[in-house]
């Protein structure tokens, strides 16, 4: 059993399923839904094979395969998983069945909808598994297309504007990524290759490193998103259908942070080290700025979107402070943000299905009509604001601890982010759930149904589990994180005068 290439199987199950769905007549709603669900669950089941086969304590890549593809150009189909990508891959396959369950309210063109959703999954899994830069770029761009259509065709309100913005923003960033990849390809000595592991250790002049790093960074920073490149996010998040918002927040945003540590740091360690203070500054600005804006949002989805800007700020902060606690915490926080924010979008979707509005002012007193929903929402909100005992705390604590070790003063504004998070979440919670029911439309609302329970309880269980017993997660992250930290700290040709900031 364990000899099977579980990683590659997992990557292509959704695409295969999408092709099979193409054979289902488009008016067979039940069959399409069930089919999509079965495919998503099958991909999750296959990914459990990755988890089972993953060797704890190993820093390098595992469970991958390497096939020659276009050998004359040095392009290969090369995949692999390590502590950095393991949990994001698991998160993707874990959330997809739930996203399918959240799609029951989609009522038009179900067939292309599910086909796009499932091909999106293959794209994302490919991004996190590809160890060939060309293959990575193909998957990277392949994600863009289904997401564009999901927002543009099945979204709400200003969906076309949002989808266009999303597309153009990301595409603009991607151009720099492509140029940087091609430059690296031609600059590397020896047999020309796109193979990631062969390109590692390519000697580059410091200036070249910085330019190439910035090329990668342009694309990744848009995706994360780092302030000021974030304004596509609130629109895309808000107008996307529930499943789209979930995958966008939980997985797509992680592609940027993932790219930075998969490629940015190992390929250009000197540049990464030199630019770390700058990136950290942007991250901390994001933490405070995103949270401040979230406070005054009127639309719940926009609020969650801006909270993502803040949370991803924590992730990036952890990745670049150069300590094992920061790096491990940042990587864990990618998973945590995916769970908490994914769950928040699922929950907002449940509410939208009932009331067809997302404006905070339209609600009030929901704790009375939907007590279980209110309780689950609170738990997820608490996880998002970093309450100890739930998952978000573990990651944020490690990130902040790691930050204090090397950038002590930055920890003050960053930690203040947890105060702001409490403000925007609890204030919104009060306005939606507390008080008396003032709007008659909110009175008879039904609590979760069975499908919605099935959708939300798995996430809640993980939120609590990681919060109480994070060890299995951290144990698998740590060796790879340690390797990255060494790469970031022990860079070779750091020029004079570009040193890392010293702890005060």
């Amino acid at each position: 059993m364990n000899d099977l290439p579980w990683l590659d199987i997992t990557i292509f199950i959704p695409l295969g399923g999408a092709i099979l769905l193409g054979a289902v007549p488009k008016d067979r709603v039940g069959a399409l839904r069930t089919g999509a669900l079965i495919v998503a669950v099958a991909a999750f089941a296959a990914s459990l094979g990755i988890l089972a086969g993953f060797e704890v304590g190993e820093a390098g890549f595992q469970l991958g395969s390497s096939l020659s593809w276009i050998s004359e150009w040095g392009i290969g189909y090369t995949t692999g998983v390590d502590g950095v990508s393991l949990w994001i891959i698991m998160l993707t396959t874990f959330l997809m069945p739930l996203a399918v369950l959240a799609s029951w309210s989609v009522d038009k063109q179900l067939k292309p909808y599910f086909i796009f959703l499932l091909s999106l999954e293959t794209g994302m899994l490919g991004v996190f598994s590809a160890l060939d830069l060309f293959l990575f770029y193909v998957f990277w761009e392949a994600v863009l297309v289904p997401m564009y259509f999901l927002i543009g065709l099945w979204g709400y309100g200003r969906r076309v504007y949002a989808a266009t913005k999303f597309f153009l923003y990301t595409l603009a960033g991607s151009l720099f990524l492509l140029l940087a990849i091609l430059y690296l390809y031609f600059a590397a000595p020896g047999e020309p290759t796109f193979d990631y592991r062969s390109l590692l250790g390519t000697e580059l002049a410091f200036g070249t490193q910085v330019l190439l790093f910035l090329g990668f960074f342009a694309s990744f920073a848009v995706k994360i998103p780092l302030v000021p490149l974030h304004t596509w996010l609130p629109d895309a998040h808000t107008e996307a259908p529930t499943a789209g918002s979930v995958m966008l927040a939980a997985v797509l945003l992680k592609m940027g942070a993932y790219g930075l540590i998969r490629f940015g740091i190992p390929l250009f360690p000197d540049a990464a080290q030199a630019l770390a203070p700058l990136i950290i500054t942007l991250a901390v600005i994001g933490i405070v700025y995103g949270a401040l804006i979230a406070i005054v949002q009127r639309d719940i989805k926009r609020l969650v979107a801006y909270s993502s800007v803040a949370h991803l700020g924590f992730v990036v902060l952890g990745l670049f402070v150069g300590t094992i606690q920061g790096m491990s915490g940042g990587i864990l926080q990618m998973l945590n943000h995916g769970l908490s924010t994914g769950a928040l979008f699922l929950l907002v979707g449940v509410l939208y299905d009932r009331r067809h509005t997302r404006l905070i002012a339209d609600f009030g007193g929901l704790a009375k009509s939907m007590p279980v929903y209110a309780g689950v929402f609170l738990l997820v909100a608490l996880s998002s604001l970093g309450l100890p005992g739930l998952n978000g705390f573990v990651g944020e604590f490690l990130v902040l601890l790691g930050t204090y070790e090397t950038y002590a003063w930055w920890v003050i504004p960053a930690t203040f982010g947890i105060v702001l998070a409490a403000i925007y979440l609890l204030w919104a919670y009060q306005r939606v759930f507390h008080g008396d029911i003032t709007n008659e439309a909110n009175r008879g609302l039904s609590d979760f149904n069975v499908r919605e329970y099935a959708m939300i309880l798995p996430v809640v269980a993980l939120i609590v589990f990681i919060g109480v017993y994070p060890k299995p997660f951290l144990d698998r992250i740590e060796p790879s994180a340690q390797k990255l930290v060494s790469q970031l700290n022990d860079s070779s040709v750091l020029p004079e005068g570009s040193g890392v900031a010293e702890a005060p």
């Binding site: 593809w69 700025y289 401040l292 804006i293 949002q297 309780g375 608490l382 930690t415 060890k471 340690q482």
Partner: protein
């Protein structure tokens, strides 16, 4: 090890109770109160057994830890869910579970008929579990987990009647004000870990001296700022009076007897860190405590809401405890923590019994002569009043005297003076409360009928009343005392000698008696009203300010909340909305205009690009597939 063996169950029983009640509560219904009381009652029994086992050991061996499982462990950072049983934690366990059990039983009667009855007990059990984790955790991170957990339960229980906007707002305020404290607490944790390489409480204490004065002062002050949130001290006390919107048993358990003492526990627990700062941190603790004691006592004297009087009184008494910590009298602080838990819980429960029969009335001006209708409540309450006023031989006399005496012996006469004046004020506002509510002609608001506390409420009031009378015996000079018991954990404390042995308690007693006497003069008998009017006239602006809570809420609103909100709006509307978005959309428009000439090639529809793009991707994949198959 065996001594700590029961610790996981002490935390686990209420936790289990909470999970069961929160998940299945609606099906369990009426039995919820019994289940919750049983869970915490059993935890109390286990606490007593653990205490007895400790007593069976030689004093210096009364310390054991029990590791349950690993918590956050990365690199050289390693913490476990690991529980420490020693003299200090076992005393805290007994207070939390003992007083907690009585309040659970009381709540069965008090909350009867509430539509969310079982959820209330679920929250109460959850609170107990986190509080026990807080006092039993053997490392600072676990203490922090408990610290935040009790804060959450406080939020849930203050806002228990969330339909009332005022309760929901109070709950949110409590959480947010505490978060400000937690922000400092968390940075304090980082300072300690990075300086000492450990968060283990005993290891921190053992190595604190090595930190140097600067870092330990920073760590101490950061931790203490956290404590001013949870334990409602200046500048973060503002949430506690509002927290009275919660059901009264919650006020008794969380906002008087247990949670709010967490800061006192934490400072006592980490006293070597505070001492390592060479006095600076402790001095701050002492003065903040003393000032808070006085400040809150003034507000208590001007308040008409019975629960808020008790809330200010709690803030004030907590101030005493910090005053004690500030002069190094750690065991005196814990002693006062214990007796205060008895008499303040008692008075809150008494107030609850009154509200119960008066239809939720809290305004003391609409109460009078209730002693005649509710003697059990009145007499137990009187025991509480005498205890907090420091009248011999009631419990508070001994603990408050220990604090004032320590300040004197330390040579800090200013702190002693503030404490003594506050003692007088305390007795005064308590006499004021008692006389207004219980003495005089029996009057109740229209439509209500006063009767004495029902059996289950009395079952909590009477033991607490007895403890308020005799609670001082746990530290009677010459007997087996709390102080001696705590000595290995908290260090030795000095006791007055010679003439001071009688002089200091004498002065404290005089202050308390004087306060009661003034209260009686101003609120009872012929001419009381005239005397009161003269006092108010003489007090003038001070009285007015105290009645307006010294305008602190308004000052915070104007200097912190309003500018903060303005900044958030500025970021959202101006920076993001017009600034960044302006640039983005401007660029788009510019490109759109300048590419008019190319419009034949480019349709302008992104979906056309998208499809073309998808087509390209499919081609590449097709190519990939053939290569793989052929290879």
């Amino acid at each position: 090890m065996r001594e700590a063996g029961l610790a996981p169950f002490i935390v686990g029983l209420p936790l289990l109770g909470a999970v069961v009640l929160l998940v299945f509560g609606r099906r369990i219904g009426r039995a919820s109160g019994l289940i919750a009381s049983g869970a915490i009652g059993l935890a109390f029994v286990l606490g007593v057994i653990t205490f007895a086992r400790l007593l069976g050991l030689p004093a210096e061996e009364r310390e054991a830890t029990q590791r349950v499982f690993d918590f956050i462990t990365v690199g050289d950072f390693s913490t476990g869910v690991s529980l420490l049983v020693d003299q200090l934690s076992v005393v805290m366990v007994l207070v939390v579970t003992g007083v907690g059990t009585l309040i659970h039983i009381y709540s069965i009667s008090y909350m009867a008929g509430d539509p969310r009855y079982s959820r209330f007990f679920g929250y109460l059990n959850l609170f107990a579990a986190f509080m026990l984790l807080l006092v039993l955790g053997d490392n600072l991170l676990l203490l922090y987990v408990g610290w935040e957990g009790v804060g959450l339960c406080s939020y849930l229980l203050i806002g228990f009647w969330f339909e009332r906007p005022i309760a929901a707002t109070a709950a949110k305020k409590a959480f947010l004000v505490n978060r400000v404290g937690d922000f400092a607490f968390m940075i304090g944790i980082f300072v300690l870990f990075v300086s000492l390489g450990t968060l283990d409480l005993l290891a921190i204490n053992a190595n604190a001296a090595a930190m140097g004065a600067g870092l330990s002062t920073a760590a101490g002050l950061l931790l203490f700022l956290g404590a001013t949130g949870k334990s409602a001290q200046i500048p973060l006390y503002v949430w506690l009076p509002d927290a009275m919107e919660g059901p009264t048993p919650v006020s008794a358990l969380i906002h008087a007897a247990t949670m709010v003492t967490a800061g006192v526990y934490m400072v006592a627990r980490l006293s070597p860190v505070f001492e390592a700062s060479g006095g600076a941190a402790l001095t701050v603790v002492g003065y903040v405590g003393a000032l808070t004691a006085l400040w809150a006592a003034l507000m208590a004297s001007a308040e008409y809401d019975i629960k808020r009087v008790l809330a200010y009184s709690t803030i004030s008494q907590l101030g005493y405890m910090f005053l004690a910590l500030g002069v190094g009298a750690y065991s005196a602080a814990i002693f006062h923590l214990v007796t205060h838990a008895f008499f303040k819980a008692l008075m809150f429960l008494g107030a609850g019994a009154i509200m119960h029969v008066l239809g939720g009335e809290v305004d003391m001006r609409r109460m009078s002569g209730l002693r005649r209708a509710m003697p059990i409540v009145a007499y137990t309450f009187a025991a509480g009043v005498l205890a907090i006023s420091g009248i011999i031989p009631f419990a508070g006399f001994f603990s408050k005297d220990a604090i004032l005496a320590s300040a004197w012996i330390e040579g800090n006469f200013l702190l002693w003076g503030i404490g003594t004046v506050t003692a007088l004020l305390t007795a005064f506002y308590m006499a004021r409360l008692y006389i207004r509510v219980f003495e005089g002609r029996l009057e109740t608001p229209e439509g209500t009928h006063a009767h004495d506390a029902p059996a289950l409420m009395a079952a909590a009031l009477i033991p607490l009343g007895v403890l308020s009378v005799i609670g001082g015996v746990i530290n009677l000079p010459g007997l087996v005392t709390l102080e001696h018991f705590l000595e290995p954990a908290l260090g030795e404390s000095e006791v007055p000698t010679g003439v001071l042995t009688f002089l200091l308690p004498g002065l404290a007693l005089v202050a308390g008696a004087a306060g009661l006497f003034i209260g009686r003069r101003l609120y009872m008998g012929e001419g009381a009203e005239a005397r009161r009017a003269r006092l108010v006239a003489a007090g003038g602006p001070l009285v007015e300010a105290a009645r307006n809570k010294f305008y602190v809420d308004r000052i915070y609103a104007a200097t912190i909340v309003a500018p903060g909100r303005a900044l958030a709006s500025f970021c959202a509307d101006v920076l993001d909305g017009r600034g960044i978005e302006g640039v983005v959309n401007g660029t788009a428009t510019f490109i759109g205009r300048s590419s008019q000439s190319l419009r034949h090639l480019q349709t302008g529809y992104v979906r056309t690009y998208g499809v073309t793009f998808l087509f390209g991707v499919v081609l590449v994949f097709g190519f990939l597939l053939t290569r793989v198959v052929l290879a």
